[in-house]
C-alpha cells in the first residue's frame, strides 16, 4: 500500500471515536436499566432462544428507551471492525491490488453471511 498513512490515521480516528460513542451508549442504556434489588442474572440461567426483533419491538412499545440505547450501542460496536475492513479495502482498490481486494471482499461476505445466519436462527 502506497501513501496509506492518512487512511491509517483516519481509520484509527474512526475506531477510537466509534468505541467512545458505543461505550457511552452502552453505559447510558445500562445505567437506566440497573435493578439493585434483584438478581437479573437469574433469568439467564437456562438457555432460551430469544427473539431479537421481538425484544426490540417490546422495548419500543413499552418505552424502554434504555434498552433501545443499549442495542444501538451494541450495533455501533459490532459495525466498527467491518468499517475498518472496508476502509482498508478502499486503499487496496485505489492501488489496484486486486488479490487483496478479493480477500477484503471475502471477509466482508463472511461478515454479512454471519449476520444473515443469525437472522436465520432468530425465532
Amino acid at each position: 500500500m502506497k501513501q496509506n498513512g492518512s487512511i491509517e490515521v483516519a481509520t484509527a480516528k474512526v475506531l477510537k471515536f466509534g468505541v467512545l460513542i458505543a461505550g457511552a451508549l452502552l453505559l447510558l442504556g445500562w445505567l437506566t436499566q440497573i435493578r439493585f434489588s434483584e438478581n437479573v442474572f437469574l433469568s439467564f440461567q437456562s438457555y432460551d432462544s430469544s427473539n431479537f426483533v421481538g425484544s426490540l419491538q417490546e422495548a419500543w412499545s413499552s418505552g424502554q428507551w434504555g434498552v433501545l440505547v443499549s442495542y444501538l450501542g451494541l450495533a455501533v460496536l459490532i459495525s466498527l471492525p467491518m468499517v475498518r475492513v472496508i476502509m482498508t479495502g478502499r486503499v487496496f482498490l485505489r492501488d489496484k491490488e486486486y488479490l487483496m481486494v478479493a480477500s477484503v471482499a471475502l471477509v466482508v461476505i463472511g461478515l454479512i453471511l454471519g449476520v444473515s445466519l443469525g437472522f436465520g436462527f432468530d425465532h
Partner: protein, 272 residues
Amino acid sequence: MYEILLFVVSILAGFVGSILGIGGGMIVVPFLTLALGVDIRYAVAASLISIVATSSGAAASFLRDRLTNVRVAIFLSVGTVFGAITGFLISSWINSSVLYLVFGGFLVFSIVMMFRRREDIRAQSDHPWSRRLKLAGEAPNAIGKLESYNVDHVPLGLFWMYFAGILSALLGIGSGVLKVLAMDGAMKLPIKVSSATSNFMIGVTATASAGAYFVKGDVHPEIAAPVAVGILMGSWVGARVMVRMKPIVIRRLFIVLLSIVALQMIKKGLGL
C-alpha cells in the same frame, strides 16, 4: 448489586488482560457461568462483544505504531471469519456441557502457552503465496531501525486461523494465543508485528460471530453492557500503568487462578 459486581470483575479482567496481553474473555466467561450461574451461551455472546470493543479500542495505537501488517491481517481474516461462522453453527447444535469441557481444555492450553518463550526467528525465504500477495513487510528491530521480514508457511497459517475462528465463536474468546502462535511460530513474523496483527484479526473474527449472536437474540444488554464497558475501562487503565508494573507477579497469580478456573469448568462439563 450483581450487575455492579459483574462490572467490577470486568474492569479487573480488562486490566489484567491488557497487562498480560490476553483477552478478558478467559476471565469473564468463567465468572458469568461459575459465579453468576449464567448459561454459557449468553456468556459467550457477551464476551464476544467485549472483544470487539477492546480490539477496536487498541487498534488506534497499533495503527499509529505502524506495526500491524494489514495485508497479513486481511488475508488471514478470511480463515478466521469463516471459522467463526463454522463455530457459530456448531454452537447452535452443541451441548452446553461440551462447551464447558472445550473451554476448560482451552484454558489448560493457554496456561501451557504462558510458559512458552516467544522467540523472534525471522523466515529466511518468502513463501510463494506471500510473494504473490506481497505479505512481507518492515518492522522496527530492538534498536528501532526498520528491518524487512519474510512470511513463511502461509497455507498453514490460514488453516490455523480457521481453527482459531471456530474456537473464538464457540468460547467467546479472541483466541489471540492461537493467532500469535501461528504468526510468530509458523509464519515467522516478528513478535511485535504478530501481536499487533492479531489484534486487528481478533476484532474482525469476533464481529463475524458477535453479529450472528446479536441478531439471533443471544446478546442481552443486561450482561453485555457491564462486561463491554468494564473491560474497556480496565484495559484503558491497564495499558497506561503496564510500563510501571512487573507483570511476572501478576502472571504467576493469574496462572494459579486460571488453573483453578480450568478445573472448575472441566468439572462442570463432566457434571461433577
